[in-house]
Homo-oligomer: 223 residues x 3
Amino acid sequence: MPTLDRQESVFVLDLGAGENRFHPDWIASVDEALDQVEKADGHRALVTVATGKFYSNGLDLDWLLAHADRHQEYVVSVHALFARLLSLPVPTVAALQGHTFAAGGMFSLAHDVRVMRADRGFWCLPEADINIPFSPAMSALIQSRLTPQVAHEAMTTARRYGGHDALGAAIVDRAVDEDAVRATAVELAAAQAARAGATLGTIKARMYAPVLALLRDTADPLG
Amino acid sequence: MPTLDRQESVFVLDLGAGENRFHPDWIASVDEALDQVEKADGHRALVTVATGKFYSNGLDLDWLLAHADRHQEYVVSVHALFARLLSLPVPTVAALQGHTFAAGGMFSLAHDVRVMRADRGFWCLPEADINIPFSPAMSALIQSRLTPQVAHEAMTTARRYGGHDALGAAIVDRAVDEDAVRATAVELAAAQAARAGATLGTIKARMYAPVLALLRDTADPLG
Amino acid sequence: MPTLDRQESVFVLDLGAGENRFHPDWIASVDEALDQVEKADGHRALVTVATGKFYSNGLDLDWLLAHADRHQEYVVSVHALFARLLSLPVPTVAALQGHTFAAGGMFSLAHDVRVMRADRGFWCLPEADINIPFSPAMSALIQSRLTPQVAHEAMTTARRYGGHDALGAAIVDRAVDEDAVRATAVELAAAQAARAGATLGTIKARMYAPVLALLRDTADPLG
């Protein structure tokens, strides 16, 4: 389960040591961590990272299969998490130390900045291959952060981007050696920590207002 | 007139050996070809290409001049063709072996991928020079596939992009030797053929929902 | 105060020799210059430039502090200026010979093209640091001209882009030596002067229709 640690101005949220799929308990735990970060005072920033081979593999399909009747409620909760992160009044950096797939990729796009391991691991939206189309809100989130050409390729071909490819496509902002992923993310976060506050929150909320409206549409989250 | 051929999983639609302008009969013929591709079963993809100096020179202005009373109906049919191609539940690759101008350029942008001849031929939106402003729907289509800087330059300056320039501007995805244009397009299409199906169609329809709504607005197609 | 000069087909508007902040009189003067450019006949284009260290430092915060009761009316007038420039039926080039900050940066983005001095001077949106969030209309303007990654960094980190950085980020279209800034802008403008006219105006108005609607929303300009 996710654990929150603080190093001076930078909160580091470790998403877990497994596949870090979005189980309802995992979502609740991340949400609680965001509460702590948001409610803290003063200069602060958030780094998310994980332990091991995966950053996150996305939706918890096993749980979803066992709880088909809660599908809509589940999607609403995932959308809400994305919306909250996308408009968090605190600088956010995703440290992609391992595979970042599907909703894990979207979660990474809801951060201000992404740092990816250069030599191993993939960033990938496999939805076209697993017959799970993006919800309209997820589609809007992805398209709001990538250029048209990159969003189209990522969303329609399930391409697996290694670190250098993801950097070239501007999916991530940095591609660095394995042992520098976390440190680079913490450094970038610390450099922005003074900007935490209501103004930053308003700037993000206005930039992504149409995306946030879709992510927060609880009536028809599946389009 | 357009002719449809099949090479294993890849349908190849030759748009013709002339300027391949959008005469109503040409539009009907392309539309019928898309019917065949869409209704076919299993793995499949579509390559469009043409024979000779032109991929397509766009709207049939001679026909339009002779049928001014059918202007609105004509624009509706062009918009509908763009909408259909943009959301086709089949991977699509445009092989731009020759000049690709005006509505021909927009038609190319409605494909998933574009391969362009590197050494000769231009991709160009000459509308600013010929006093035909883009319809709001055409404008939305172009802007949905290009970066802001490139869309602005292409739409306001009538710049003629050669293959290398078009690649640099991410208007096309590949720029290759003349004799490799068609083969490269077929190869890229074949590599995606397994992704044909309803999920791909839904992904594209949701990505371009605002553009498709404008393209399908039959009440006021000229804005 | 701004002064308008004409060199053959190119109008050159010098924004002033100070910080060139948006005092109401300055706005009225620029607006009057745009009247002259718009009403002139034939081939023409507009270059804006300034004299000295600053292109423009943006909103006149001193005036605003002294006239807090006119805040909304003031923002409406700034939005209107952006809207007018963004849809001007004349090619426009900003020659950024000096610092271009905040609303000065937005003003530059409302031009068709930007030429920046390469060796000194910054393009910067410092709003995140001075606790003035972008209005929704300003946010839409900036996001309509920059890629998602660049807009996000520029708007949330107050990064100061030098000429080469701004060129690499596609914030500007050229970065040249100090003594070439104005001449390059005039040359680019002259090359587009033949495109002045109603078609160009319609093309721009349709491209930026959603942005223009926000910029012209006088009821709730502050969101």
